[in-house]
């Protein structure tokens, strides 16, 4: 047992820290620190800077232009990036579609799409969920009918994160209506500029516009855009989901969040003393910090076990459940810390909202974040679904 980083890993950490200090634009970092929504341009700018350094596709093999980092390296980056208030890397192209294309895509698809993910030509979004198909993803109804060298797609996707910025969407579609639920599904890449695609915003409870509905009406998609085999999409979808779930422990985000809570609680006055000295508040902070400390180690244990490239299954579910609970608890502490200043509606996304509340704690919209992050235990397979997986795996004997 050795809990410290190896000399190589330490050197890597120094490198990452230096890069972030030199190259992370301060205006972007400031927005992240204050939980202000990033614009498309902010995100693209940051992707380009990372790509320049060769650090955008951190988990891709080098043959595809990736950094091929070890799990520990990725963890180091995540922690340092969160600490420096770097934006998260938009995951849809890089950590979801990329691995699927590398494993199941044709050579042509790889040659065409992968470089475009790296250089920012394409912005991808994920078209899995539908109004009637959330946890029960396999009940999806959007259908694609083969017509010569095209599919004709009709249906509706929902909850499409950042779909308003995307020009491409990877979708699960039903290609065989007669097959058993999971067997008639295909994995299709759809250009969102094709006639018949319509994106409608959904405003979330904190006023942010991050998700959308996407409607397809007789959308023509070339058959080259089918990934793998027709009706085998479920396999690819599941592969993608295990990738989606790694990193959802969000240790870096939690660490940054905890720092913010402490910063606010030091500045906030409670009975003439800093709130951080209040025994009840301090106890709550300490408890979540203790949880997080253990979680960070759980996370390291799991990633150091994970065979290169393969995403862990059961462990990913555990990380997701625990990680989301911890992050949500930290959000709760942040909103408590600001006291009455939790009440202002600080979303920039809503028309008519004022610029910044004149708030002495400079805490940003922490209550909005508290509400927004209720999503962490809902999306990507809800915590109930994850617990179901853990129970099923452990009690059927296998792991």
């Amino acid at each position: 047992m050795d809990l410290s980083y190896s000399p190589d890993e330490q050197a890597f950490q120094t490198q990452v820290r230096q890069f972030l200090a030199d190259d992370l634009p301060q205006d972007i970092a400031e927005k992240v620190r204050l939980d202000t929504d990033l614009t498309k341009d902010d995100m693209e700018r940051w992707h380009a800077i990372l790509n320049n350094r060769g650090w955008l596709a951190q988990n891709w093999p080098q043959e595809y232009g990736g950094a091929e980092w070890s799990a520990v390296q990725r963890h180091i980056y995540d922690t340092e990036a969160a600490d420096a208030n770097a934006p998260r890397i938009v995951p849809f192209g890089l950590s979801m579609l990329g691995p699927v294309l590398q494993k199941f895509g044709s050579k042509d698809q790889q040659d065409h799409w992968l470089p475009r993910i790296l250089d920012g030509t394409d912005w991808w979004c994920q078209g899995y969920s539908e109004p009637g198909a959330g946890s029960d993803l396999a009940s999806l109804k959007t259908k694609a009918v083969r017509d010569g060298d095209h599919y004709i797609v009709n249906g509706q996707k929902t909850w499409t994160t950042l779909g308003q910025f995307a020009n491409m969407i990877f979708c699960l579609v039903r290609t065989d209506p007669d097959a058993k639920q999971q067997e008639g599904i295909s994995f299709l890449l759809i250009d969102m500029e094709t006639p018949g695609v319509e994106v409608r915003p959904i405003i979330l409870l904190d006023g942010t516009h991050e998700v959308n509905e996407v409607w397809f009406t007789d959308v023509k998609v070339p058959v080259e855009n089918l990934v793998g085999e027709e009706n085998k999409g479920w396999t690819y979808a599941k592969y993608l989901l295990t990738h989606e779930r790694t990193g959802l422990g969000g240790v870096g985000f939690s660490q940054a969040g905890l720092k913010a809570v402490k910063r606010i609680a030091k500045a906030a006055n409670h009975n003439g003393k800093p709130l951080i000295q209040n025994p009840h508040f301090a106890a709550r902070v300490a408890q979540v910090e203790i949880d997080l400390h253990a979680m960070a180690t759980t996370n390291l244990r799991i990633i150091s076990q994970a065979a290169a490239g393969e995403a862990p299954g059961l462990e990913a579910s555990m990380l997701k459940v625990k990680g989301s609970i911890i992050r949500q608890e930290i959000n709760d502490l942040a909103r408590r810390a600001v006291g009455p200043y939790a009440m202002p509606f600080a979303s920039e996304a809503v028309e008519g909202a004022n610029d910044r509340i004149p708030d002495p704690l400079d805490a940003g919209p922490v209550a909005g974040q508290y509400f927004n992050n209720r999503k962490l235990s809902i999306f990507g397979g809800s915590n109930e679904i994850q617990r179901g997986i853990i129970a099923k795996v452990t009690m059927s004997g296998g792991a």
């Binding site: 959330g134 009455p340 200043y341 004022n354 809800s382």
Partner: protein
């Protein structure tokens, strides 16, 4: 022992519930939420016509209620419907302070729905402490800054606390008074508030002290607890309906025990919350009133968080959308904890008071 409402209160409850069910649906509320004023003058006037505002005042103040249970009945219904009109701050807190000051003509106008008030007591670094006042009063001129003042922009008059020497006293400040600056903003759970600065602003002394403020604040605590209870009832009811109708994996999700048991827990906790509100209203005249109020506010804060978070979780994504009723209700519930002292504040106060 009798846990039934009196006939009058039952009537008040029925009338108000029916009115709000008919007039304050999701669409109407969403329009009000999106409006510049953050509240509807029409709804306000109609509530006054229904006698809802009068129920917050005793007969000698010109009303026909004013007891803890009258306040609880009204605010539970307002909470149930997710009403964003600042009746708590403007009519109850402001109105009862003016009643305490003997301003009968003003109170009459409040009850009639014609007069809007704001109470500017909290300050930027005061959190929930009632005795934290740095605003000063010198020869009737007020100087200082007040934080998150509800309804400041719409108010005709503002009641401002300030320190005159060592004593905290309350003053009436007119809208448009010299040196009064109001920076308004919308609130996450609806309605509007403002940061208010006073710079040598003339204020009319009301002859009220911090003790009077504390007395009115007790009523506000009952109201806030009851409002949160009403909102929790709605959140629970919406969730129950959703669990029975939303199907995944070919069956209603409420048939999954993982959710069914949690729904049962919510129902159990909801009964606890109801009892807490009854305690708050029933012990208002008791010598241990503050202890009971703190107990209630703490419990409501804890159960409120549970109900809001569980209701959202069990709904899945749909609950996260701004226009869905539950999103609004959940925000009302959680934000109630940021008013008149939060869960921790009242836990500490309970410890102090119950040890005494």
């Amino acid at each position: 022992m009798d846990f039934n409402l009196t006939e009058e209160r039952q009537m008040l409850q029925d009338t108000l519930r029916r009115y709000l069910r008919e007039q304050y649906g999701t669409a109407r509320r969403n329009d009000i939420l999106a409006s510049d004023t953050g509240f509807s003058a029409d709804i306000w006037a109609e509530l006054a016509d229904l006698g809802v505002l009068g129920a917050l005042f005793t007969e000698d103040m010109g009303g026909f209620g004013g007891a803890g249970f009258d306040i609880a009945v009204v605010f539970e219904e307002l909470g149930r419907a997710g009403v964003v009109e600042p009746i708590l701050d403007s009519a109850l807190l402001g109105g009862r302070l003016l009643a305490a000051a003997g301003k009968t003509d003003f109170v009459e106008q409040v009850i009639g729905g014609a007069l809007h008030l704001a109470v500017a007591h909290g300050e930027p670094d005061g959190r929930y402490d009632l005795d934290h006042v740095n605003t000063t009063a010198t020869d009737g001129k007020l100087t200082g800054r007040k934080a998150v003042v509800m309804n400041a922009e719409a108010a005709d008059h503002m009641i401002v606390s300030a320190k005159d020497g060592d004593t905290i006293a309350l003053y009436l400040v007119d809208k448009g008074a010299q040196g009064l600056d109001i920076q308004g903003y919308p609130l996450l759970a609806g309605g509007r508030a403002a940061e208010v600065t006073l710079d040598n602003t003339p204020g009319d002394p009301l002859g009220l002290t911090l003790e009077d403020y504390e007395a009115a604040n007790r009523l506000a605590l009952i109201a806030q607890c009851a409002e949160a209870l009403g909102a929790m009832e709605t959140a629970t009811a919406l969730t129950k309906d959703y669990l029975m109708t939303r199907k995944q994996f070919g069956r209603p999700i409420g048939t999954f025990q993982a959710l069914a048991h949690r729904m049962s827990d919510l129902l159990i906790e909801l009964e606890q919350a109801r009892s807490a509100v009854i305690n708050a209203a029933g012990y208002i005249e008791d010598k241990h009133a503050d202890m009971h109020l703190s107990a209630s506010k703490n419990l409501i804060g804890r159960i409120g968080r549970l109900v809001a978070e569980e209701a959202i979780q069990m709904h899945g994504g749909i609950a996260m959308t701004q226009e869905y009723e539950l999103a609004h209700i959940a925000k009302r519930i959680v934000m109630a904890d940021h008013r008149f002292g939060d869960t921790d504040y009242h836990l500490e106060r309970f410890i102090a008071l119950s040890a005494a």
